[in-house]
């Protein structure tokens, strides 16, 4: 009955959201966090009185540096955040001392160049013994990026309602992308003649052309995959471009077996050394 139960849950969540939309005063719409509290409330909850602007400023400074620190520590910048809560506790539940609260969160920010906007709901149910918190709905909106790999991953994270996996995999993904870019750039600088980055350093392809034998080209395709459980793994492939005439002379079928040998090499040498040895192979010919 999973599908049925899921529908009931979804319906209940939507009804709660609609109810709230009806009850809400129409004027000041959703604002940044805390914006809806009356100022009086804020003072009461915080300091119990008026503070001097100076104190406030220094406190703000502290908070700002703490925020900078956190975003450096995690690599994730949160720019906007707001939260609304709704008490779903019925009188029947109160009698049994059960508390049921639905929180609706909106959060936006970025991880390196990738921006995201999240909307999620957390249903909290507290009874005498335990507190359970469940993410009942997760929506992820991302600006279109050059990374097409991300969209499939995003729908999987939404489906599993796995907020933490989203951030974790996003971090590892971005880390790999940066590494790939640095590596490609490094080789381009070191071997400017042989290495070609026709689609830019952030793309997944690097071309290596023989400097002495025109027509011979290797293309390294370096994809970054996000697996079923959010694991981020690089996948490298080698494509060869060899003139037809040369292919006929290739009695040992070197060209045909090259992609496989490339895999083996990766396992032994690692990514950087493998790429370096390939580039050297094509560029040293020029010195002979």
């Amino acid at each position: 009955m999973d599908a049925g139960l899921a529908e009931v849950r979804a319906l209940e969540a939507e009804i709660a959201a609609l109810r709230r939309a009806c009850e809400e005063p129409p004027a000041p719409a959703e604002d940044a966090a805390g914006g809806q509290k009356s100022f009086q409330e804020v003072y009461q909850s915080d300091s119990g009185g008026w503070e001097s602007s100076e104190d406030l400023r220094s406190h703000l400074g502290h908070l700002e540096s703490e925020l900078l620190f956190l975003s450096a520590l995690t690599g994730i910048n949160i720019r906007n955040y707001s939260k609304k809560t709704e008490d779903l506790t019925s009188t029947e539940m109160t009698e049994k001392s059960i508390k049921k609260v639905l929180q609706r969160h909106r959060l936006s920010g970025n991880c390196h160049t990738i921006t995201f906007q999240l909307e999620f709901q957390i249903l909290e149910i507290q009874n005498k013994e335990s507190l359970s918190s469940v993410i009942t709905d997760l929506n992820i909106i991302m600006e279109p990026t050059e990374y097409s790999e991300l969209s499939e991953f995003v729908s999987r994270a939404e489906e599993k309602r796995d907020l933490f996996m989203f951030f974790r995999s996003l971090h590892f993904f971005v880390e790999w992308c940066e590494y790939r870019k640095r590596t490609f750039q490094h080789f381009k600088e070191k071997y400017p003649e042989a290495v070609h980055l026709t689609e830019g350093a952030s793309s997944s392809c690097m071309g290596v052309r023989s400097t002495s034998q025109p027509g011979f080209e290797l293309v390294i395709v370096w994809r970054i995959q996000i697996g079923e459980e959010g694991k981020v793994l690089p996948k490298l492939d080698l494509l060869t471009q060899v003139p037809l005439g040369a292919l006929e002379l290739d009695k040992n079928r070197v060209t045909e077996t090259a992609p496989l040998s490339f895999r083996t090499l990766l396992g032994v040498l690692g990514i950087e050394a493998t790429l370096e040895s390939l580039i050297k192979l094509l560029s040293t010919e020029a010195n002979d």
Binding site: A10, L11, E14, A29, R57, L63, L73, T74, Y81, F120
Partner: protein, 300 residues
């Protein structure tokens, strides 16, 4: 950063009634889409079916009501426009900013990683979850000096903290923290599945569920029909990769006499496949669903 521009187009801060309503509408449309897809295909149990019908009717009523309100608000927005920030004193602006910053700092817990500055460094909190269920949190108290040092922590002893910190703590703190997240979330996820099996599907188990501390080796004997006379199956699940919540090695054996009969062999193989691809408690939910005739009190 160059991102400031792209972000402001989201209009979070610009707010406004219209923008808000628009967002609400998008949200509603999205949930509606989600709701309508699975319709029809499933024949829903009668009690549940009635409930769904009732809820749908209520929802439609509310939707209409919200729409009506929207129309009303749209008509009156012209009068509400004047900028409210003009009336705010500087003090109020600062207060607002402070509350906003505080909220954002708290929101970091939703990334799975949050932290509080201490006198010596930072105390990092790592949150775990499995399929939407928010589970335990752990902390690592870091002393910021060269070299970085872990002062205290609540990471379970069987998580390879030393190995991870030796690899990444000094060179890449982000990688260190997210790797730790990966291990802890996977552990929480495996533990959650085993706990659910024990608590919700005890009737299927013929004997206790055995597990190690890491919850990466589980073994149990189970029957597909609780209380039935059939012989039980034995399952052994091994999670070789400690960052995963699905087993890497699955062995299911049948303990019955007619072990060679093809129908049992088919069942055995299909179970093994389920264990490999689905969380444990979901596999047992599907067993329970198959045995529709069985006493429902055993399952709930």
């Amino acid at each position: 950063m160059e991102l400031a521009n792209t972000l402001s187009t989201h209009g979070e801060s610009k707010g406004g009634v219209l923008a808000h309503l628009e967002r609400l509408e998008i949200h509603m449309n999205r949930s509606r889409k989600k709701l309508e897809e699975p319709q029809g295909a499933q024949a829903v149990g009668s009690a549940l079916g009635t409930k769904i019908q009732k809820l749908r009717r209520l929802r439609d009523k509310l939707r209409a009501e919200v729409k009506q309100r929207q129309a009303g608000v749209k008509a009156s927005t012209a009068n509400v426009e004047p900028d409210q920030t003009l009336d705010m004193s500087e003090q109020e602006v600062l207060e607002r900013k402070r509350e906003n910053l505080k909220a954002i700092l708290q929101a970091y817990r939703f990334t799975g990683l949050s932290g509080k500055l201490t006198s010596r460094g930072v105390c990092v909190c790592i949150n775990t979850a499995f399929e939407g269920n928010l589970l335990d949190s752990y902390f690592v108290d870091l002393v910021i000096q060269k070299p970085l040092r872990i002062h205290h922590h609540s990471i379970p002893i069987f998580i390879p903290l030393e190995e991870i910190s030796a690899k990444y703590l000094q060179t890449n703190i982000q990688h260190f923290l997210f790797s730790l997240c990966e291990y802890l979330n996977a552990y929480s996820g495996r533990k959650y599945q085993a706990d659910r099996l024990q608590s919700d599907f005890a009737a299927f188990l013929a004997g206790p569920l055995q597990r190690n501390a890491l919850c990466n080796l589980l073994s149990f004997t189970y029957k597909v029909e609780p209380g039935g006379q059939s012989f039980p199956f034995c399952a052994r699940l091994l999670y070789k990769d400690l960052t995963l919540t699905l087993p890497t090695d699955v062995t299911v054996t049948y303990q019955g006499m007619e072990a060679l009969s093809t129908s049992w062999e088919e069942q055995r193989a299909s179970h093994a496949n389920l264990f490999r691809t689905k969380p444990l408690h979901q596999v047992f939910t599907s067993f329970a669903r198959k045995g529709e005739t069985l006493d429902m009190s055993l399952v709930s």
